[in-house]
Symmetry: C2
Subunit: 280 residues, 2 copies
């Protein structure tokens, strides 16, 4: 049996935990596993799966194109339904505490669970990767939140924490001028003075001969899809350019769609529980 | 045990059938029961429940404010998820056939299952009610689709058929002039030349000092919420009146909300399966 199957088997046939999806990338030499479940059941399963990965994966001989720092690189807990971000944060901390004690693995809390601003962003934490992490962690700034003060010899370190579901939202413009998409991307993204929860980039869609503002909305409850969309429409007018369409890539929480319908239809007192399918 | 409980018990503890809701109105002396389920399981349960109601309810001694023509007055089959209106129609006909043979009860097919235009509308079929139905059915125009050519002596007749879920959608205007709401209601409703699947009425919201276009959308897949909303906005301008808000009363299918978000955000290739909650 392959290593991956042994890890996935931890999640199979459990009550209140469902293995929703997993996908491996050969070039990246990395697997993303998606689970849904009740907090208590997820906790038990995650701690056990981390142990299995620590046992089976040796970072010393690991190669891949995607940056990584641990056998279990990152464990995000995403509140979906009947659960708050605070509860997801608590769950992340419980898993980190227990797994660090059982396996001698250090954990960094990141995103909504981060204990300092410089530790919110995963890319910041992971900089240096597995090979540079022992040196990096000598700095007091990079002391882990749980577990030993240096890396696990073969499993490295793990980032864990609560984060909101990402919404991948792209807006297509009626021009092939990349500069316009790039300028608008800067106007809406957080780093340049735009919305707090928007990451954005201008890109070309060569086959269609148009450009796109390509975005990640990192907290749709605070920065709504419709607000970003209307702002891009407004900025595009400045260049005599129209919005020809938009796309949501992958999954989107129901609330994000409801919020947009709610805004445009000027709904009063509409609640997500009124969506028939939530009753089934 | 009350009669109602005996009927509801038919639906309880079954596989693939769920009693979602029931509500009784004393003045109406009428109960509305909402079930969801797999077609095959629903069929068996419905046939049995119709038998129980025919056995327990005697229309000869029945009084109530709501018009009625049968112990089981009307049985709508509403396609919700992974099922077409054609399949709902087939199910309605199977239940009608079997129940008519078992209980000697006549059935009229109505709405999407109707066999003639004058039999689409439930109010048309029910006109004359239980007391007048034996006389009405002597007319060839009112020969039932299944069962005997005259009423069941105590259980009357039943309407059955497939219909789309109703969306109760109201739009509030920045005026207390009822005439304006009534005019706009006429402009959007089918009967006066408006949208095919809109029933509308102008009403006063006295406590708020405004008026409302109060609507039923009888097929949201053909007449979208956003199209009706934008048309009302446009017509209101004619009177210098603004749309101050709208409301959806009760349940609404996810697709109806997605369709509105899709329109306003100009989404390309968005599919309802991208809504995260549909995966859980």
């Amino acid at each position: 049996m392959k290593k991956l199957d042994k890890i996935l088997d931890v999640f199979r046939g459990r009550n209140n935990v469902k293995l929703l999806d997993y996908s491996s990338d050969e070039d990246h030499n990395r697997t993303v596993v998606t689970l849904v479940g009740e907090p208590a059941a997820l906790k038990v399963a995650m701690v056990e799966a981390i142990g299995k990965a620590v046992e089976l994966i040796d970072l010393i001989s690991h190669e891949g194109q995607h940056p990584r720092m641990g056998a279990v690189d990152v464990v995000p807990f995403i509140p979906i339904k009947n659960v708050t971000v605070e509860e997801a944060d608590m769950l992340a901390k419980e898993v980190a505490k227990e797994a660090s004690e059982l396996y001698g693995l250090p954990f960094f809390l990141y995103e909504k669970s981060a204990t300092a601003p410089h530790r919110e962003n995963l890319a910041n934490i992971r900089k240096g990767q597995f090979e540079g992490m022992a040196e990096k962690m000598k700095d007091e700034k990079w002391k882990p939140d749980f577990g030993p003060d240096t890396i696990h010899p073969t499993a490295g370190v793990t980032a864990i924490g609560a984060r909101m579901p990402l919404v991948a939202f792209n807006v297509n413009l009626s021009t092939n001028n990349l500069e316009i998409a790039s300028k608008i991307a800067k106007q809406v993204r957080h780093i340049n003075g735009g919305f707090r929860y928007v990451k954005a980039l201008g890109i070309e869609l060569e086959d269609r001969g148009i450009v796109q503002v390509s975005m990640n909305l990192t907290d749709y409850t605070k920065t709504s899809i419709y607000r970003v969309f209307e702002t891009i429409k407004m900025e595009a007018q400045r260049y005599g350019v129209n919005v020809v369409g938009s796309e949501i890539v992958g999954l989107v929480p129901l609330q994000a769609i409801v919020d947009s319908a709610d805004y445009y239809l000027r709904l009063e007192n509409f609640n997500i529980d009124q969506v028939l399918e939530t009753r089934l």
